[in-house]
Structures are given as structure tokens and as C-alpha cells.
Symmetry: C2
Subunit: 209 residues, 2 copies
């Protein structure tokens, strides 16, 4: 699905509001006002409020799947290097797309069926396949240990990143980073998150229990 400039403009403002106030907490009038358009244009361009949300999911998840498929084809790297590249790309994505990740974190709790749920499941499968093939490759080469619960390891990676980004205001208070600017704080947690996940991953993949 291709979106016009006008549609993207609306989707971007809607995404921000959905992230801040939740889907049900955001009114179509809110969106129209922030996007500088007439109320009726949302229905005109997307059909309904729900389909606008679906459009946001379509757009962002489409971007993500594209991103992932590129990584697997870099053959000149070791398994751990590929894994680390995956983390770099993933963390960068999470930090850059914070509003969407907030929506995702909230909607995947309540949205268990329908178009959106299908998109989420697809994306999860894509992540799963990518990581699974990387780890199997590393195990064959003897770089990684044998007994790894890949599904739970992914839960840890995604859960860590999600939790940090969606509750970063608490993290900020708990660690006394309130004097930092928003930009500097974002830079800081991106770096910390990247190193932390890599550490967890390396420890998990090579640790002998």
C-alpha cells in the first residue's frame, strides 16, 4: 500500500497522539486539529479511525520487515557480528520510532485478533526466523552454546527495549538523569541499551550452565 503526502502527514500526527494518549484516548477531532485539516478528512482518506490506526501499523511494520531482510544477506560477517549488527539496527529503530513502539506495546496487549494482530504476528515471525537462522548458524560453527531457548531470548531482547522506551520517564527519575536534555538523554539510553543487550546476548549465548 502506498500513501500520499497528505495521508502520511495525518498518519504522523495520529501516531504521536496515539502514543501519548492511547488509541481510545485520542479523538478524531484531536488528530484533525493537530494535522491542520478538517475533521471529515480522516474518514475521507482512511475510511475510519480504526483504519487510520491500521494504516500506521501497515506503514511501520512494512519498514521493519524491509530492514530485517537486508541483514541476513551480509555474508562477510561472523554469527556474533551479524547478531550485533541486528541489535544495532533494532535499537536504532526502537529509539527513532518511539511513538510507534509505544502504540505497539499498548495495542498488542488488547489487540489479539483482526488485521493489526495479524501484522504483529507476521512481524514477530520475521524477527523469529531471522534470529533463529543466525543462532543455528553460530551453533554449527561452535561459536554459541547448544541449549538456547531462542523464543525466550527474543522475549528478553524485545521486552528490555520495549520496557526501557515505554517507561523511560521513570528510568530517568530513578537514575537522576533529569538535568540532561531530552536529546542527550535519548542518545544516552540508545548507547546504554545497545551495549546492555549485546552483553546479555553474549553472556547468554556463550555461558556454560
Amino acid at each position: 500500500m502506498e500513501y500520499s503526502e497528505k495521508q502520511l502527514q495525518i498518519m504522523k500526527k495520529a501516531e504521536k497522539l496515539f502514543a501519548e494518549k492511547g488509541y481510545n484516548g485520542t479523538s478524531v477531532r484531536d488528530i484533525a486539529e493537530k494535522a491542520g485539516i478538517n475533521l471529515a478528512m480522516v474518514s475521507y482518506y482512511f475510511g475510519s479511525k480504526e483504519k487510520l490506526l491500521e494504516a500506521v501499523f501497515d506503514y511501520r511494520i512494512g519498514m521493519t520487515k524491509q530492514l530485517l531482510s537486508d541483514i541476513l544477506h551480509k555474508t562477510n560477517l561472523s554469527s556474533l557480528e551479524k547478531m550485533n549488527l541486528l541489535i544495532d539496527v533494532y535499537v536504532k529503530k526502537i529509539i527513532e520510532q518511539q511513538p510507534f513502539n509505544k502504540i505497539l506495546a499498548r495495542e498488542q496487549v488488547v489487540n489479539t485478533t483482526g488485521h493489526t494482530a495479524n501484522l504483529i504476528l507476521q512481524m514477530k515471525r520475521t524477527y523469529m526466523d531471522t534470529v533463529l537462522s543466525l543462532i543455528r548458524e553460530g551453533q554449527k560453527k561452535g561459536e554459541f552454546q547448544k541449549h538456547i531457548d531462542v523464543s525466550l531470548l527474543m522475549t528478553t531482547i524485545i521486552g528490555t527495549a520495549n520496557h526501557l522506551v515505554t517507561t523511560k520517564h521513570y528510568y530517568r527519575q530513578l537514575n537522576n538523569y533529569e538535568e540532561l536534555s531530552d536529546e542527550a538523554f535519548n542518545k544516552l539510553i540508545e548507547k546504554k541499551l545497545r551495549n546492555h543487550i549485546k552483553f546479555i546476548l553474549k553472556a547468554s549465548l556463550t555461558y556454560e550452565s
Copy 2:
């Protein structure tokens, strides 16, 4: 704050609905119907819908803080054993209080100020203090390595548990556990989660980078 039987009955039904459909997606009429009471009784007992949510948070977070303060006083255990006990208690709580944890996961994204945000911050501080003192103790005894980012390690533990519980329907599909009964599936993820977090923790605390 103490709550009457009637209040607890309403809070329990409200908690379930908030978890399933979100705070804004749940109407006071929904709650009244499920609780088998008149619409006006919610305002009568709690003042407002928002204060009902706050009551749920008061109640659950009060329980959690009680739970945590008990653990620190068990002196006959090693640092790693205390840490493992903490995980046992935490995972058990997460599994048993799934509805509340879904609410918590969603509300802490949007709720950054007000009474609820304060309660969440308090709870996080309690967790932080508990884990911090356990880890410092283990480091003194030489059981744990020196350079540990406790705040991020907690983000990983909480994030992993949260993500698994709030998106367990996806986990179920991805790992072909659909033929299992709900009860059996819950038992399974509790056990898996417990072992997984302990493994991550042990690897992180003792791994030499």
C-alpha cells in the same frame, strides 16, 4: 486504605475489564453490569472512574510492596539464593496477577503524572532498593562480578516478564502451544520464565566481559 467487600468485588471486575479492553475502552456501564450492581454505585463507592482505577493500583501495589519487604530479612541465604527467591516470588506474582500487570504495562506508558504515576514510581524504587542491596551484598562476598548496571538489569527482568505475559497469545502461536489448555500453558510459561530469568541473571552477574 481499607476496602469493603463490595468495593473489592467491583475493583476485581473493573481490573479484569481494564486489562481486556484498556481503561478508556471500558465504560462504567460495562463494569456495573459485570459486577452486578447499579451504574451509580461506582461513583457512590469510588467517586469517579479514575479513582476506581487508582483504588486498583493502591490495592495491588500495596500487596507488592508488602511481598518485597519480607524477602530482604531472610538472612540464612546466600546472595544468589536470595536473588533466586526474589525471582520466584516475582514471577509467581506476575503470573497470578496477569490482569493487573496488563493494566500496569499499558498505563505506565501514558500515565506520567498524578497519583498513579507516583505509586508506580514508589514501587519501582522499592524494587530498585531491594535488588541493589542484594547485588552489593553479593559483590562484597565476591559472588558477583564488579561491573553491573543494576538499573538496566532490572529493566531486562521486568521487561522480559512483562512482555511475555502481555503478549503471551503471540508467544503461544509462535511456539505451537495452542493445543495446551489455558491452565497448562500458564503453568508452562511460569516455569520457563522462572528458569530463563534465573539463567539470564546468573550469566549476567557472573560473566566476565
